[in-house]
């Protein structure tokens, strides 16, 4: 594939050589390649000063020089992180294998042979400068993408309930509400929300789009728009989920889907009613009978066809007692699927004990010890998004 040659007219080259004839002939050769911005130094020490002053894109460096030789100068350059990527071309006698090894060890990028052959010299200089340009372009591009991703991340986080809102809802319903949210690769496919429905009823939604990254994040924005379109007040959780499923089925490309939990907590009758679409099993805790010690903790069945796969999907409502002192713990699959180097992932079955241990460490706010022990055992960065929500009714 033919790639048009990049123009080198804006490149700066520093020539370091104690021999005036060599400096002049090298300059002549690279001028012919279109490089006009050239500076000179006569030894390594002068060379280092010139690098700071002139900021070259490439250095042509002689080895044997008085005061400071080329190897020493190159080593000094490489010790400075700013110049780690700066191409350094040593001029050496091609037949000296030993000297070439020493040049590489000193941090040289390549060689040009002495005596100078103009064709080879220009080709090697051009190769290094083009590589540097492409590298810089890529670095600039990457920086831009990073910047845009973090903007998008802020937008996504703004879809989730803020701390102030959590506190408001918690006080209104007599709850303890704690939440944790972390995306895997800047953007994620997790979403959760709280919806006061009046008459002591509170809607709780958690959705996890398959995969992560930009595609999954776009789906959470889609979801946010859809939620506003479907009022929750006069519907059972299963009806609402079925409606959301049809809407997602229309917008999601094939192979993309979401798992979901949607529940309504009714504090007037101490009941949680929910429908689920393949979310990880939620944990329900109820205060134990008098003679037992801790609360009764168990996993709820959350099987259900994932959202966005079939228009015909049906969901089932389940009701459970959730009296004062009881709790509900919701989480995304990262909690049970992400492991560390030495220790495997937690796994679904271990979650009740995981919750029990955390309650023993902090009865009021067990989410913090849960996250502490999760992060202690898990390799970072996370491979998937993690959301965890603790909803407890105050005793």
């Amino acid at each position: 594939m033919a790639v048009p040659a990049l123009s080198l007219s804006d490149c700066r080259v520093l020539i370091v050589d104690d021999n005036e004839f060599n400096r002049k002939s090298l300059a002549l050769v690279i001028r012919r390649a279109g490089i006009t911005d050239i500076a000179f130094a006569e030894n390594g020490r002068e060379g280092l000063a010139a690098v700071d002053r002139f900021r070259p894109d490439l250095i042509l460096l002689d080895v044997d020089m008085p005061v400071m030789n080329g190897l020493e100068m190159c080593q000094a350059l490489r010790r400075n992180a700013t110049h780690e990527q700066l191409p350094v071309l040593f001029q050496t006698a091609l037949d000296s294998d030993e000297e070439q090894v020493r040049c590489f060890e000193a941090g040289g990028s390549d060689f040009i042979s002495k005596p100078i052959k103009p064709g080879e010299c220009v080709a090697r200089v051009r190769h290094q400068l083009e590589k540097r340009k492409l590298f810089n372009d890529l670095a600039t591009f990457r920086e831009r993408v990073q910047r845009e991703l973090s903007h998008a991340r802020a937008m996504q986080t703004s879809l989730l309930p803020e701390d102030r809102r959590l506190a408001e809802v918690a006080d209104r319903y007599g709850l303890t509400l704690d939440a944790h949210f972390e995306t895997s690769s800047e953007l994620g496919g997790d979403f959760w929300g709280l919806y006061p429905l009046g008459d002591g009823r509170l809607g709780l939604l958690m959705v996890d789009f398959a995969g992560h990254g930009i595609t999954a994040a776009i789906n959470t924005f889609r979801l946010h728009t859809l939620i506003d379109r479907f009022p929750m007040q006069h519907m059972t959780p299963s009806q609402w989920l079925a409606q959301l499923n049809v809407a997602l089925n229309d917008v999601l490309p094939r192979g993309q889907f979401a798992t979901a939990f949607f529940g309504i907590l009714d504090i007037a009758v101490d009941t949680l009613t929910f429908a689920a679409a393949g979310s990880p099993n939620p944990v329900l805790g109820t205060p134990a009978a008098i003679k037992e010690n801790g609360p009764d903790i168990r996993l709820l069945d959350s099987a259900g066809l994932v959202l966005g796969v079939s228009r015909r999907a049906q969901y089932v409502d389940q009701s459970h007692r959730l009296p004062r002192g009881g709790f509900l713990f919701l989480y995304s699959d990262a909690l049970i699927e992400c492991g560390g180097d030495e220790i495997g992932p937690l796994g679904q079955d271990a979650v009740p004990d995981f919750v029990r241990d955390a309650l023993a460490r902090d009865r009021q706010h067990p989410l913090r010890p849960m996250m502490d022990s999760f992060y202690a055992r898990t390799r970072l960065p996370l491979r998937d998004d993690l959301t965890a929500v603790w909803v407890a009714r105050r005793a």
């Binding site: 398959a210 995969g211 192979g255 889907f257 393949g278 066809l305 796969v309 699927e337 998937d384």
Partner: protein, 101 residues
């Protein structure tokens, strides 16, 4: 994830091993290519040797279901065990895919 293929004449069979997850997305096109080349009317995806599947892996099963359906090929997911079976059951994929446990 790794896979091997067996052609039984009656069916094209793909046996998956290891972990089917987000990072395997590029391999999916290799399996789709197999479906495209096959003359068999049945496509069996054997998961008995698969150890783990994540949500992206489940999505790949749905894509394969779509690909086979559009070519009038019957897809059968066979033998998921352990955590893989659990994930498939939790997501109730058997409502849209033929799964032989």
């Amino acid at each position: 994830m790794d896979f091997k293929t067996i052609n039984t004449g009656d069916a094209a069979e793909v046996w998956l091993t290891g972990r089917l997850e987000f990072t395997d997305h590029d391999r999916l096109s290799d399996i789709i290519a197999l479906v495209e080349q096959s003359a068999a009317r049945r496509f069996v995806l054997d998961l008995s040797g698969l150890e783990f599947i994540d949500s992206a892996g489940l999505g790949m099963l749905l894509v394969l279901q779509d690909e086979t359906e559009s070519r009038n090929i019957k897809m059968i997911v066979r033998g998921p065990a352990g955590d893989v079976r659990r994930s498939i059951e939790l997501a109730r994929l058997s409502e849209v895919i033929t799964v032989e446990f």
